[in-house]
Amino acid sequence: MTPDESAAAPDATPAKPPTAPIHLRPAREADIPTIVPLLLRLKRLNEEFDPLLKVREDAEAQARQVLRQQIADPKAVVLAAEGIGPDIGKVVGYVRAIVRERPFYAPDFEGVILDIYLLPLYRRRGVGEFLLQEVSAALKAKGAGIVTAEFPAQNEIAGRFYTKRGFRPVTAIQARSL
């Protein structure tokens, strides 16, 4: 797990049933140019929380490469959220997650949510809730028995988002410079 592999939850409130003003679909290679800026926004937000999450100079090229690889990877889930109404066809958010083996713990596989990002105007409308449900289902379909989320320890908004939805801290990662 690297600092890059972190997720910040959008500032969303639960809505039941989710009535998301978006259309969610698997991301395609053609989405990469529109997802990269969103991914960079998320990483820059993470940078605000901790200097050890400083965004690399080459983050943009990295983002393109990682997305290309994960969109093709059957063990990864990348979803694109398209806006509706005037934003129809525009990617306004995305989710990125992977399935990871747990060699010592049961269940054997966890679905790890690495990124959830939504443009501000799509927050607080139940979209985050919807994204979480959809990505959880996709990860389960790929064999994950639990779902985890990674985000900066100082991101209280993300922390609240997940704990409200039944998540709890399981593994702590602490860091210092070398």
Partner: protein, 478 residues
Amino acid sequence: MSESTAASEAPLRPGRRKAKAASAAARRSESATDELGRRAVELSRFYGGKIETVPKVPVRSLHDFSLWYSPGVAEVSRAIHREPDLSFELTGRWNTVAIVTDGSRVLGLGDIGPVAALPVMEGKALLFKFLGGVNAVPVPIRVASPDQLMSTVEALAPAFGGINLEDIASPKCFGILEELSKRLEIPVWHDDQLGTAAATVAGLLNALALTHRTVRESRTVLLGAGAANIATARLLLALGHDPHRLSLVDHKGILDAERHDVDELMLRNPWKYRLALKTNGGGRSGDLAAALDGADVLVAASTPTPGAVRPEHVRAMAKDPIVFALANPDPEIWPDEARAAGAAIVATGRSDFSNQVNNSLVFPAVFRGVLDARARSIPDEIVLAAARELARGAERRGLSAHHILPTMEEPEVFPEVAAAVGDAAVRLGIARHRLSHDEFLERARTLMGRSARLVRALARSGLTSPMPRAPSSRRRAA
């Protein structure tokens, strides 16, 4: 009313000459400001500060001390102990406010700390007393965090009937005002937000009327997204301004919902973030020029950068635009320049031009009103009531492009504003003293008038020394 607008525009055609005059005005104002500064230091030294406490009861002989102090005073304490609200009747609490600052954003001087802020707070206390009849105590405090500031103010609250927060940096000032207003049962005000915003809105209401506009239909650009304009935006929205016709612009350009720094704002300045989402740039993105294209109103309240607004910006606005250039001492654009570029109405923060947007038009009257109503807080409805009454005050003397706000020489307006504030507190159900309009007005007139009489009486009796003259060498130079 359109006549006077036209009249004021007529002599403004020769643009170049006016622009030259503007820079001359800038130079003049600079040397005048220097001289005022020297004089202020001299006089501060001569008088040893600007305010003092004076007993307000007779002391016929030292025996009276047994009434004003021990043993008599013990019964007064017992009464208040039984019923704490009696502190508003049996002590001066009803008319005493604290001027609290951490010195983190003093005038245009920046973070100069609490001690250096003291002369400013003393000056503010003088204005409070002279204009509002309010006893104000300067309380600059050395604190390490907003939490410490808030707990300190909470700890101080028993001594005061109200709290005036002053010169606290943005964005922490927003959270501090919000939170203290919740925690305290006495009114809390942050003048850099509310005072400026109320005066701005008052001026705008009249400027809009003069140019046959309404708040609802106007396209407005706020340049600068600090304490004043964040509050102004909130008030305009409360007045029914269409958020999609309201653009906030700062040094990074138009504040829209997808600006690159918007997530950072969510964390560091949620007030600005919320406006970014709500206005979404007024449907625009880009720079000031993009925002101003076709706009009806510009309110510039930015970090002073002369020339931040250029004549071509004003020329690109709608016909007969309204330009408020409020940076002090140098406005974002000089009034003559703005008018030469077509501005129908111009306001600044300076007293040497017409239409001064001045906090002093607001805070003494607002505090007079909330103190007399013994209000529990100062919600935006009260701020708007003050702004509307201030606008009406200017209207009573006749509106023109050069008179959209009362000047400080129209003191009859201030008790009216105080009474409007008192009425609003009663209407909102937050007044402990539910007086009638006439009672509020009468009380405000008496208390506000008393201070000026007091100052004059002290001067007449020689208890306040006459002002020493400036050294003759400098008088000649000036």
